[in-house]
Symmetry: C2
DNA sequence: CCCCTTTCGTCGAAAATCGACGAAAGTCGC
DNA sequence: GCGACTTTCGTCGATTTTCGACGAAAGGGG
């Protein structure tokens, strides 16, 4: 329970910033703490930069993660874009870049693009390659997390069972983590946004609709990594709108960006996709605003049920359609507070994503950080045993 | 990671039955294991009863939980009954009794009843009171688990905020855990039934409809302990049946035992409650069978959405209405496999509860067992520090 | 400027853990 | 039936980890 890894954990979470605090919290002797800290410093994981303010006695030496020698890369892959972010181990964003990129081009070109961007960002920030300890990648589809293979992703043809980490294996010395983008978004919100909740739902409303689930402070991926696929839940109020999945009345067919764009186009206001709908709504186009608000109601209808079931303390809404918070969230809140049980809603907050456009990449980076700083991982590193090769993880 | 408590954990889970196995699994030296086992035996937690079969060398001495000196009590409180079960720490049922008891009589009489039955069962089984290490109680309503207080339970007037553990505090030396009965049922299924799943939903179909959630092997209680209240989720297909909660189209109004009984009575077949409906269906009354199957479809409609969202590997159905598996489960399966995504259903099992009538009490006992055997709890006991007083827990 | 407080490093003492050894208790082959 | 081999288990000294006391460092306050 109080291994060296746990000591680092306390430092990284900001629970303890000095040796004395660590000793107080863990209950270990100060000399033991001193020895552990020494080891962490020797391994380049922790540094003493400044000395803190005195509280009446000798001022403490402040410990912090060594952000100069430990970095991660977070990648947010969308249907039509790719954002690569370089972060230090403390979670600070050092550099990032977004490019248009069609995920339909298949894994190999995309992976090469990521690799190239990663090297560019490192050069730009003046950090050596060896300081990258892990890479996190969020992809728009279900993933078998343990092996980093997408499984039958609907909008990623050619990626089925492609072993993403294998692309880096052997040639690099970092681990590669791959996850569904809604999960990285949820992580990003949990650790970079304003919402600190043990039980959190991140709802991404784009062309499709998905949901990242934090249960008891940990990501819930479900039995096959398929959890959170709420786009094809039937909406109670809605009619029989046909969905591409073959069923009717799915949330995606009612409130997805594609469905809204089609309806808008049909009504004489051309819109290509969810992003365009959001732009029109933001510009004040009345029909677009009305459709977005109605979409919010549809989403709220489904979420109302999930609130009863899951009882989260926070729901965060993001994705292309959430670029216009007001009408969407208004619709969502309206239905949730009407349909869900009081006990489940009296402390529930429904808010827009606080991490913004970069949330996906930041969350993917956070996935990598959490992997690197996991106590077991640290204990292994300090024990001298080299971590596994640059492949899958956990 | 390898404290004495973890050693006991391996023994209690059946992962290791001998000192040599413990050493192999933990990686600790045999002498260290021997010392830990000695401490556990000295504290009466473990015993050596028999000596195992040789595998070619000296036969091992088999370690097991000391079931003679460690017991728990599990209590299943329903609207109209109370079952008290005496179990040993290994989970074996020693004696139990069910009595009719109206929970509406209020906390004090009910608690006195439990206390009395507990003493009777102990006398019957010839076990001294001091061997009871914890008591688990499942109640039909939401509970703030940390304090053991029901919060606004709809069918338990007078129980709001009543501190259940306080009834025993001071007079006994065990901890008291209180939880929603769907949670104890889920635990019972997980540990006593046939279903070993990390992600499990236990759906209880009685007068109301509730759901116990196991996420990643642990109970998910949600932000306010209100998780799993699926009875008031709106059913997609259903109409506007009014519900006692004030909304319309709730699952409970469509498929709850009360609603079915009312509809059956209306049609000229008098039935008092869900139990009566089940009895009629079991006897072959055609209308009852049809209604139960339709209720199954309604439940399936809601579960189909939850399967997409939560991606469990198993759904277990119990409760009064589930006494007739076939029509109910047929309806549930029919809709789930039609409406949920293939990835989420291809390994999903939908089964009746394997624990039977006593599942609730057994699960409550298991809640108590898990509390007693939690590694931190064991480490504390072995370190000499007395556990907290006979009150709340965790 | 002296006393008090808090932090931190050092070092011997105490405790936990390990590893080697030998005895116990069985199987297997001749 | 007997000896060689295997596996388990207890013991005990050696090693490693952890603790606790001591004193020095570094600042605040009167």
């Amino acid at each position: 329970m109080n291994s060296p890894g746990d000591v680092l954990d306390l430092i990284s979470r900001g629970d303890a910033g000095t040796r004395a605090e660590l000793a107080r919290i863990t209950g270990l002797a100060r000399s033991t703490i001193a020895q552990r800290v020494e080891a962490l410093i020797a391994h380049g994981l922790v540094e003493e930069r400044e000395t803190g303010a005195s509280t009446g006695g000798r001022p403490p030496r402040v410990l912090r993660l060594n952000t100069d020698r430990n970095h991660v890369v977070g990648v947010d892959l969308g249907a039509t874009h790719c954002r690569v972010a370089l972060m230090d181990i403390g979670g600070a964003l050092l550099a990032d870049r977004e490019d248009p990129l069609l995920i339909t081009e298949g894994p190999e070109p995309v992976m090469r693009h990521i690799e190239e961007r990663m090297r560019e960002l490192l050069a730009e920030a003046g950090r050596p390659l060896e300081t990258v300890k892990a890479v996190g990648i969020g992809v728009p589809g279900p993933v078998e997390f343990a092996t980093g293979r997408p499984v039958n992703p609907p909008i990623m043809p050619g990626w089925h069972e492609y072993p993403v980490p294998a692309h880096f294996a052997g040639r690099y010395d970092f681990d590669v983590l791959v996850d569904n983008d809604v999960n990285t978004l949820a992580l990003g919100e949990l650790r970079h946004g304003r919402t600190a909740a043990e039980n959190l739902l991140f709802v991404k409303v784009g062309t499709g609709i998905g949901c990242g689930i934090i249960a008891g402070g940990r990501l819930h991926r479900g039995a096959q990594g398929a959890a959170g696929d709420i786009g094809h839940i039937r909406v109670p109020g809605a009619g029989d709108a046909p969905c591409r999945c073959g069923n009717t009345g799915c949330l995606e067919a009612v409130a997805g960006g594609g469905a809204l764009a089609a309806r808008l186009t049909e009504a004489g206001v051309p819109a290509a996709d969810g992003r365009a709908v959001a732009a029109l709504a933001a510009a004040g186009e009345p029909l677009a605003v009305r459709l977005v608000r109605e979409a919010g109601r549809g989403i709220g209808d489904v979420l109302a049920g999930l609130v009863n079931f899951f009882n989260p303390e926070a729901i965060v809404v993001g994705g292309a359609l959430a670029a216009v918070h007001e009408p969407l969230l208004a619709g969502v809140r309206e239905v949730i507070y009407r349909r869900s049980l009081p006990l489940a809603t009296n402390r529930l907050t429904v808010a827009p994503s606080g991490a913004g456009e970069k949330g996906g990449a930041l969350g993917a980076g956070r996935l990598a950080i959490d992997h690197v700083l996991a106590p077991e991982q640290i204990d292994r590193a300090l024990a001298g045993r080299a971590a596994g090769p640059a492949s899958a993880a956990r």
